[in-house]
């Protein structure tokens, strides 16, 4: 499993914006002419504020995610049959087989493409289910307040401290193999992974529900679902988006662990099943690194890409983080500019 979860979110609560110790006024002013367009830039459209601004890390994240999605969506059409057996078993990467072959001569790249599709499917499915669950318990509970809020919050805290994967393993162990389908695994993973984001959503909702326009809307007799959907939810969209992204990462990782143990969905082939076969086909003792390295690498790079995208979403949730970044950039540019003028003198 991963630590990507709530730890990363810590900064959201606190005020961002570091102190740039040497940030004297004149230096900052010297920076102004250096900026293209200066102060005369047009104000950005309102909807553009909802989109993250492009940074190198965001670009890297988008490229990584797009690459893996491409592999999973388009890949299976391009590569051959993943189950086709040939007599070139355990061959290293070559021109014919880019990522080598498995013990029974199956093409690793073909398997990788199909497995990536399977993992993305389950990730998306669990991501949606877990986000819906956490939205229900987090937003609805916080909106209702009182006993319901206490109960929902206690429930999510309890689910948070009970270790997730052992619970999933036990549940999967009790479900007979025949009835262990894609949906069963997805539901089990979603049931055990919604708690952390419910807590984040609750905290955000609590701050939104006390704003004046929400009170006005309630006083004018709007129905609860309308207040939540129209007044509260739009404010939570960036938080929901980032929680969804974390849920997808956690789901792909959880499913991979489960399948690696042979407890995954019996009708799906995912990156975890690939690692399961690699482990049981003695890829490790035989030194067939091309068999077990790619699946894990795909998971890690996809997760990294999603986390990087999430950093940018965090900047929308907490504009202070963004201000901190622009302030840093300006201070650096100012220092450079100051250095230049000194040299010129």
């Amino acid at each position: 499993m991963t630590n990507t979860g709530p730890d990363v979110r810590v900064a959201v609560d606190g005020p961002g914006g570091p102190i740039e110790a040497p940030a004297p006024g004149p230096a900052a002013a010297a920076d102004l002419p250096a900026r293209p367009g200066g102060t005369g830039t047009r104000p950005r459209a309102a909807w553009r504020l909802l989109l993250p601004s492009m940074t190198p890390w965001l670009a890297a994240g988008l490229v990584l995610v797009a690459g893996v999605v491409l592999l999973g969506v388009v890949g299976p059409w391009v590569v051959g049959d993943p189950d086709a057996i040939s007599d070139t078993g355990l061959a290293g990467p070559s021109g014919e087989h880019w990522l080598g072959t498995t013990q029974t001569g199956q093409d690793v790249l073909a398997q990788l493409a199909h497995a990536t599709r399977g993992s993305l499917q389950i990730g998306l499915l669990v991501g949606v289910l877990a986000t819906v669950l956490s939205a229900f318990f987090g937003i609805y509970g916080a909106y209702l307040g009182g006993v319901a809020d206490e109960a929902f919050s206690l429930l999510s805290n309890v689910f948070l401290v009970i270790p997730g994967l052992p619970l999933v393993i036990v549940i999967s162990g009790f479900v007979p193999r025949e009835s262990r389908g894609l949906w069963t695994i997805a539901v089990v993973l979603a049931l055990t992974s919604w708690a952390a984001s419910a807590r984040v959503l609750r905290a955000q909702t609590l701050s939104v529900r006390n704003r004046d326009y929400v009170a006005a809307s309630r006083l004018s007799g709007e129905k609860p679902w309308r207040v939540i959907a129209v007044e509260i939810l739009p404010n939570l969209l960036p938080v929901l988006a980032s929680q969804f992204v974390y849920a997808v990462i956690a789901a792909i990782l959880g499913e991979a662990g489960l399948s690696f143990l042979g407890l995954g969905a019996s009708n799906a082939s995912t990156l975890g099943t690939m690692l399961f076969y690699a482990q049981n086909g003695f890829a490790l003792p035989l030194g067939a690194w091309w068999w077990f390295v790619p699946p894990g690498l795909v998971i890690a790079l996809f997760g990294m890409g999603l986390s990087l995208i999430n950093f940018s979403i965090d900047e929308i949730i907490n504009p202070r983080l963004k201000n901190a970044r622009t302030a840093r950039r300006r201070a650096r540019a100012a220092q450079r500019a100051a250095g230049r003028t000194e040299v010129a003198r």
Binding site: M1, T2, N3, P6, G17, L165, V175, I299, S307
Partner: protein, 329 residues
């Protein structure tokens, strides 16, 4: 002391929830675990008396005519007496004993690795966050790669590199099997040697979260007024870093320990499989593959118990180091 009572109350509720989940799962899911279990037991040469059947029914549900509530009562009573049934996988050892011999391995491994990862991660995070905007700070997003790596895959890669290619460490097991388990220096040395790669896996995979969390809080704390005041007073930089910034920034990392520990335990359960480590994770998997439901339930209960216990200790410590939690209570 209100804070302590509230925390104790919460963990009591969490424990009750875990026990009840353990009770409900086999009864709500399809299949008849008691029959499968008894069939396995007979295969292993155990004699199935009506009493055995009754004992397993109390544990797992099944062909009793009792109401669910009465079953729950019997289940809780058995649990309180410490009766978790007999393991089928390690027949005729009782589940208690199987768990008792494997639990220390996991507790020591996960405990040491978590403390190491938290300490190194928090220290690194404090230093990186102390000077935001340097090249080191810009490289922080790279740690997301570590956070997204599956534990067991990292274990595979490390075993491949350190054991197979370089041959520095043994790749399987928890100790040299020619030695007798005990407190002899040779045995401890061998346990450390065998445990190094598993521990390294956990440290590498979990350090990113600690580092990132600490770094973010550090950046936030540096903009607080009291840090500015400390700077204005002309205090030495090292003192500001240690006594003003890092001390306050570390609090959320301590508070987030519960969530992190859950992830680490989940990850290490799967990782033990890669190393055939004699810990609780391997036992859980052996139980699952052998339909050893009694052992499965027992292991889950003990893992939960250990995680809840560790969290309780950290929460109580948190109450000591952060006076605000006590004031609010």
């Amino acid at each position: 002391m209100n804070y302590v009572l509230r925390k104790l109350g919460f963990y009591a509720v969490a424990l009750w929830a875990a026990v009840t989940l353990n009770f409900l799962i086999p009864r709500l899911l399809p299949g008849n675990p008691v029959d499968i279990l008894l069939a396995k037991l007979q295969q292993r040469g155990g004699t199935v008396t009506p009493e055995t059947r009754e004992a397993y029914s109390a544990l797992l549900g099944g062909d009793t005519t009792d109401s669910l509530l009465a079953q729950y009562g019997t289940y809780l009573a058995n649990l309180l007496r410490g009766d978790l049934g007999v393991s089928v996988t390690y027949f005729p050892t009782p589940v208690n004993e199987v768990i008792g011999t494997s639990m220390p391995w996991t507790v020591v491994l996960v405990g040491i690795a978590t403390v190491l990862a938290a300490t190194i991660g928090v220290l690194l995070g404090a230093f990186v966050g102390w000077r935001p905007g340097t090249w080191l700070d810009s490289a922080v997003p790279l740690t997301t790669l570590l956070a997204a790596v599956p534990y067991f895959w990292l274990a595979l890669v490390l075993v491949y590199l350190l054991s197979r290619v370089l041959g520095w460490f043994p790749s399987q097991g928890g100790y040299d099997v020619v030695l007798d388990p005990g407190w002899s220096p040779e045995f401890i040395a061998s346990a450390v040697e065998y445990g190094f790669v598993p521990a390294l896996t956990i440290v590498i995979a979990s350090i990113g979260g600690w580092l990132l969390g600490m770094r973010n809080m550090m950046v936030s704390t540096l903009s607080e007024d009291y840090v500015l005041t400390a700077r204005a007073k002309g205090l030495p930089q090292g003192q500001i870093l240690r006594s003003y910034a890092a001390r306050n920034a570390v609090l959320p990392s301590v508070a987030g320990f519960a969530i992190s520990l859950g992830f680490v335990v989940s990850g290490s359960v799967v990782t033990e499989q890669v190393f055939s480590y004699p810990g609780i994770g391997s036992r859980l998997l052996a139980a699952v593959t052998n339909n050893d439901y009694a052992l499965m339930q027992g292991v889950f209960l003990f893992i939960t118990l250990a995680v809840l216990g560790a969290n309780l200790v950290v929460d109580l410590l948190y109450g000591l180091i952060d006076p605000r939690t006590r004031a609010k209570a």
